[in-house]
Amino acid sequence: MPDVTLVQAIDLALGRALADDPTVVLLGEDIGTDGGVFRATDGLLARYGAERVLDTPLAEAGIAGVSIGLAAQGFRPVAEIQFMAFAYACLDQMINHAARLRTRTQGRLTCPIVLRMPCGGGIHAPEHHSESGEACFTNVPGLRVVIPSSPARAYGLLLAAIRDPDPVLFLEPARLYRSQREAVEDTGIALPLDRCIVLREGADIALVGWGGVVPDMLAAARVLADQGTEAEVIDVATLVPLDADTILASVAKTGRCVVCHEAALTGGFGAEIAARLAGPGLLSLLAPVERVTGYDTVLPLPRLEEAHRPSVARILAAAHRALAHG
């Protein structure tokens, strides 16, 4: 079982999907000969040919729109958007069409597409290459929003996304593409698309987040453990549909929660989780829900990007505030 990076796990899952299902086609900018700018489709053109792995013209809305047409015809297109900032051009297609084709036609036409893209900061990329725009999509009924945080979860969740009969926005934290390796066996086994993943159990406080901040939450949990506090770390992984039960159960146990994400605070998806905790979870809470997020500013260029994103220190400070209550 080889140790692979997250981006290699993506490549592995895409290759598996192409091998297993003749209706799967990949399309996107530079995904063919170049293997994608991050190499997520490396080698796939050579193995599966130009009718399965299509280089497209430079047109993000067109890529999303063409995928919808392919999907309505029975294909399972997996489209790569080169960076998440460029997926904003796809909002019209994803919101007005992909998310509602099944409803609009009462199930006559469906839209099993995956729009996958790198997201988040931490790779010192140029302007408009480090977006965490998940909240633009989580408020769209009919779309699933998935974001893995490890190679194995990337493999299992991407296979699940491709096999799902409805549209999925699949976000790949760019900072995690090559930051860790783990053993990923190409078993073809998918992960569920509606489950949070408890990465670490603990009775004192819940740290809940997704994507690029998950390693920071785990690091914070290790520090807290040294301080005698056991943190439960939850990778939300599938933002929509949200597995609120796992989060509520954790907070029922811990009474304290820190929600972490790279995206800006106001209207971020962490607000939805905080609202769930303030609703059905209220009587479990021993402290106000803390949110550690990107600031409500324009994402700074790389010199300041680390100062914008949630750090281990900020997560720890929030955890200490929560633990100080009661």
Partner: protein, 355 residues
């Protein structure tokens, strides 16, 4: 001179029947097929009757906002008549002529405009797309459908209809470009009715023709008289044949005129006067084909009366069926959100109840 011309283009306009109904030979073979001409004529008469009824229903509070196709009936009628059942239509919101021609029922059309999703669950053309309200956003879908045909090596064609305003949008250019790069079996048909709500064609684009926008994408573009159903059928048919046999995409600009308001929510007198519109009544497609058929001895007063009566009867029948169709239970809004409803929505559905 160190410069030389490297590209030239020319845009052709096809018309077989003049505005007064006079034949402009040589005509295509089917123009002597009296039965076919009668079918096209009766289809256009039906669309006009349907539009009038839909507007009347809206005015009396029994239908939602509606976009009449008054004066443009030949575009969709001619296009749909050239398609094969296995082709796929991707319509805009003024394409009832094409949709009805494809076998979408008048009841389905009324249900849709009356606010019921069942109207887009076509019993007939199962793979045709529902109406796209966001302008031009369905043209990339048509490219995707055409790409599916190409990847499966099927002899099928996608036909997408949109208005003159749509050719100003990025979606149009992105789809047009992809269609050229991949040589897709796709026919893009512009219903150039000269108006995008209040914005006239002259404000929409400085291009001499909209058809020439195809040239930039490396595909052929042409104009057709959109009020001449014979010309529309002929040119769309030839483009479909070409696409079906691997010849790639075509952009066709059908020149017509929006004789009515943009929709029932619009009052066109705010931006154009009757003197602007009235000359175009002399070019409209139904009278034109009638005059043509009368001159050929292929039509009669009896047939005319029968066509009008049959259309009225069928429209009334659809209207009655529509008005008698109860709305669905509210909880049905959850029925087709996902293949399997997630627990969060399942509890919302329970909260809404079965009312």
């Amino acid at each position: 001179m160190p410069t030389e011309p490297v590209a030239r283009f020319q845009i052709e306009l096809t018309r077989f029947v003049a505005a007064d109904g006079a034949a402009l030979p040589p005509l295509p073979d089917f123009a002597t097929d009296e039965k076919l001409l009668a079918t096209l004529y009766r289809a256009m008469v039906f669309v006009r009757a349907f539009d009038a009824k839909a507007v009347a229903l809206q005015r009396t509070g029994r239908l939602g906002t509606y976009a009449s196709s008054l004066g443009q009936e030949a575009v969709g009628t001619g296009a749909a008549s050239a398609m094969r059942p296995e082709d796929v239509l991707l319509p805009s919101f003024r394409d009832q002529a094409a949709m009805l021609g494809r076998g979408v029922t008048p009841l389905e059309m009324l249900l849709y405009w009356g606010g019921d999703e069942r109207g887009s669950d076509f019993a007939g053309p199962r793979q045709d797309f529902p109406i796209s309200v966001p302008v031009a956003s369905h043209i990339p879908h048509a490219a995707g459908v055409a790409l599916a045909f190409k990847l499966r090596h099927e002899k099928r064609v996608a036909l997408c209809i949109f208005g003159d305003g749509a050719t100003s949008k990025g979606d149009f250019y992105e789809a047009l470009n992809m269609a050229g790069v991949w040589q897709l079996p796709l026919v893009m048909l512009i219903n150039n009715n000269q108006w995008a709500i209040s914005v006239p064609r002259s404000t929409q684009s400085a291009a001499q023709t909209l058809a020439q926008k195809a040239i930039a994408a490396g595909i052929p573009g042409e104009q057709v008289d959109g009020n001449d159903v014979i010309a529309v059928r002929d040119r769309v048919g030839k483009a479909l044949d070409k696409a079906r046999t691997g010849g790639g995409p075509t952009l066709i600009e059908a020149l017509t005129y929006r004789l009515g308001d943009h929709t029932t929510s619009d009052d066109a007198r705010r931006y154009r006067d009757d003197a602007t519109v009235s000359p175009h009544w002399h070019e409209e497609p139904i009278a034109r084909l009638r005059q043509f058929m009368l001159a050929q001895g292929a039509w009669s007063r009896e047939r005319e009366e029968a066509a009008l009566a049959d259309a009225a009867t069928a429209v009334d029948s659809a209207m009655e069926e529509y008005l008698a169709t109860p709305k669905r239970p509210a909880a049905s809004m959850f029925d087709h959100l996902f293949a399997t409803l997630p627990p969060g929505q399942a509890s919302q559905r329970t909260e809404l109840g079965d009312a």
